[in-house]
């Protein structure tokens, strides 16, 4: 599904953001990406959705060889992914419904099917009643749900989430996290960058930890040692 092999990433001004990172995320998996600020979490996600070019190594995402992707194929890759950010990134002058529909229209989806598909995902994230609300009329948690609905509407195989709960209070965090778990339970792989260790601890999911651009811990690989260390 997502496979990094000896990936390096250097920014023009900023040195190495990723150093020899390798991991493989299988279909339907839920994976936390953790690490201190500046460790390279967002950079990993940016490489996955081809926001930044890979410096060296191989990145494969659901059949795409991202490192060698032509610019014109980038949109095709992104249509297979759902992407959620800490700051929601909704269009302020469109309603919740329009924000979600937008992601479908962009792909050239049939108009007649758009309305129903939008309502279905809004229902799934629990916001059907607020379909006509503008982002400014919604709480942070609700806005993030709209963003998640937008990410889901193209039925992605992978959902990428960069600190999706970073701007939310504890209650909203739990709600959004539960929503992501439900989405994962229905078969979508989730790769979630976070530094909320409480969240990481309370769920039985795989954890990949970065430190200054290097992968220092992967619970799948290091499981035995990890379990031995903590009874």
């Amino acid at each position: 599904m997502i496979k990094f092999t000896n990936v390096f990433k250097a920014f023009p001004k900023g040195g190495l953001a990723l150093k020899d990172v390798s991991f493989h995320i299988a279909k339907g998996e839920f994976v936390f990406l953790t690490g201190h600020s500046g460790a390279g979490k967002s950079t990993v996600l940016k490489l996955v959705f081809a926001e930044e070019p890979v410096t060296s190594g191989e990145v494969r995402v659901s059949g795409f060889n991202v490192a060698e992707l032509r610019p014109k194929d980038v949109p095709m890759l992104r249509r297979r992914l759902g992407i959620v950010f800490q700051d929601f990134r909704l269009l302020e002058d469109r309603t919740a419904e329009e924000n979600v529909a937008f992601a479908l229209e962009v792909t050239g989806a049939r108009r007649s099917t758009i309305g129903a598909r939008v309502m279905r995902v809004l229902t799934q994230v629990g916001l059907a009643a607020k379909a006509q609300a503008y982002p400014r009329e919604l709480s942070g948690g609700e806005q993030q749900r709209v963003a998640i609905a937008r990410a889901l509407v193209n039925e992605p195989t992978v959902l990428l989430a960069d600190e999706p709960t970073g701007n939310l209070d504890e209650r909203a965090t739990r709600g959004v996290f539960q929503l992501l778990r439900d989405i994962n339970a229905s078969g979508t792989a989730v790769l979630m960058a976070t530094h909320d260790l409480d969240l990481v601890r309370q769920a039985p999911y795989r954890v990949i930890e970065l430190q200054e651009g290097a992968l220092v811990y992967d619970s799948v690989v290091d499981e035995p040692r990890d379990q031995a260390a903590s009874p």
Binding site: K72, R78, R79, R89, L91, V106, T107, N154
Partner: protein, 285 residues
Amino acid sequence: MNLTIREALLTFRRAPLLSALSVTTIAFSLFVVGLFGLVAVNLQDALRGVAERVEIVAYLLPGTPIETITLAEKDIEAFPEVQSAVYVSEDSALARARGELVEFRDVLQELERNPLPASIELKLKPRFRDVQHVNEVADRLRGFGFVDDVRFGRDWVEKLDRLRQVAAAVGLVVGAAFAVVAIIIIGTTIRMAVLQRSREIAIMRLVGATDGFIRRPFLLQGAIKGMLGGLVAMGLSYGAYVLINRWLIQAAFFSRAQALAVVGFGALIGLFGSAASVGRHLRRV
């Protein structure tokens, strides 16, 4: 396509102020171009009116037989440069003089002998009304044995020539300068519209929009703004024309084709300005 039109039109609703500003900017830029165009059109009209009077007169020797003259008239009319050649007999020359020179009517009345020679008056086709062609035709006329003298306002034709050259040069330079200024101003306005929506463009890309998909509504919207600006500019020019006509001088307005050309020019600037702005923006981010 439907979506393109909807998105393009939505811009006007979502950003009415900036849209109005763009249209106004385009309108005034094109208005300036239009005013200059009006001056050019009227100057051209005036020059054409003056050139209309470029006339060559061949005075004939007295006693030339009328048959010879009729034949020669046919020949002269067949010159490629000549639009018309009219024979004016001694008698009609005198009659005309009497009509035109009222003050001397008595003098002319008392003449025993008609002092005025017969002549052939030539008008050249519009594109031959310049020094070189007038000279050529005059030389050819002198070749006829019965032609006594050939007259045309040489100084005057030369001045007209210079005037035409100056008008063309000024028109080209000033017109081009105005057009370039208009393009720059309009381009800047469109750039603002693109920047205002850079967040939206980023989000469109995030959810998998192709560059073509992102670009299309901008192009359409740019063309619409340009066209509206062009229409407003034509309206303003017409207003200016009416005022000038009423208070200053008798002037001419654009022909329908010229007016359409200005509107079309607006639409094209809008289209290409948008294409350039969006293209640059998409390549940069």
